[in-house]
Amino acid sequence: MRPRLAWAAAAYVLVGFAGIYAAAEIPLAERRSGYEFMSRETRAMQDDDAGNPGMLWVLDGEALWKRKTGAADRACADCHGEARASMKGVAARYPAFDAARERPVNLEERINLCRTGRQQAPPLAFESRDLLALAAYVARQSRGLPIAVAIDTRTRPFLDAGRASFFRRQGQLNLACSQCHDDHWGAKLAGTPIPQAHPTGYPLYRLEWQGLGSLQRRLRSCFAGMRAEAYAYGSPELVDLELYLMWRAREMKIETPAVRP
C-alpha cells in the first residue's frame, strides 16, 4: 500500500470510529439541566420568585388566563377552571399528538388551537408577549414535575424525525446538534460551558435576550449559529425536534420560568 493511501485508510477508520462514538446519547444518569452549568448568581436569579424576571410574564399569563376574549367571549378559565389544578403537569407532556392535525403540536400551538377553536379569537403570533405569557403561566404549573411526553405508535415517527434532525450535520459549519450537546457538553466554547440542551425551563428568561423566549427561538438561534437556514416558527421540523428534546429530557424536572445566561 502506498503511504498516502495508508494515511487515507487510517483516517477513514478513525473518522468511522469517531462517528460511532459520536452517535451515543447521554446516559440517563449523567443528564444535567442547563441550570447546573450556570454561575451561582444566575442560579439565584432563577430560584427567587421575587427576583426572577420571568415571573413578570407568568403574572401576565395569569391575567390573560382569566380574561374573556374572542367571538365566544370565553376565558381559558371558563373551560379549564383554576390553572393550578387543571394545568398541573400539562406542559410536561408537550409536544402532544393532536388528532385533528394528525401530528404533535407544542404548547404554544395548543394554546392557539384553543383560541381559534374554543374562543373564536385570532391566534397569537409566535414570540408575542401574550403567547409567551400564557405558555409561561401554564408551564409554571408544572414546575418541579417530571417531563413525560407520550411516545406511542402515533408519535414515534415524529420522535424519530426529530432525533434524525438532532444527529444530522447541517449548515455551512456542517455541524449536528449532537456534536456539541452529546459529545462535548461541559467543554467550553469561547469561555462558556456547553450545556446538554435539555428544554427543562421554557419559556425562559435569557439574559442575552433580556426577555422571555420560547424553545423554538432558542433552536432557531442554534441553527443560525451552525450557519444553517432556520426553520420558520411553528414548522413541523421544529416541533419534531422539540418532541425529541423533551423525550431526551424525560423525567427531568420542569423549571419554568427558568433563567439562562
Binding site: 454561575s39 448568581e41 462558556t192 442575552e208 435576550w209
Partner: protein
Amino acid sequence: MTSRREFLVLACGAASLTAATTVGAQIDPNQAALRRAAMQEALRKVVGNAQVRRGKVRLELPPLIDNGNAVPLAVRVESPMTPADHVRAIHVFTEKNPLPDVVSVTLGPRAGRAGISTRVRIADTQTVTAIAQLSDGSFWSDSAEVVVTLSACLEEGLI
C-alpha cells in the same frame, strides 16, 4: 520537581490568567480613554473637590460574569442610620460603559440599613466604583474589578 501533570495544570492556569487580562482589550483604547475621562467628570459632579476615602462602603459584584446584560450588584454602607449619622446618597459608576452613571440613590435614616441591590449592564471587563455620601458630608468609596466573558452562541444582530 514538577511532574508532567502538575506542569500541565500550571500551564493551563497561566494561559487562563493571560486570557483574563487580555479580555480587557475589547473596546478601542481611544474610546476607553474617553470613557474613563467621562467617569472622572461624572465623579467630580458628585463629589466636587471633596476628598473620597476608601472604606465604610462594600461593593458586591461577581468577579467573573457569564453575561454582562444583567449583573447582580449590591452596595452596603456601614452606618448607624440615625437622624444624626446616616448615609445620604449612594452612587455607582462604571469606567467603560457608554455612560459612566449607573444608579444614584437618595436615602436617609428611614431606610434602616444603607444599601441597595440591583442588576446592571457591564459592557466590558472593567472597574466599577460605588461612592457613598454621609450626613456629615464626607465621601467614602469601594471599587470592584469585573471580568466579562461573552457567550459563544449569541443570536445574530442585537447584543
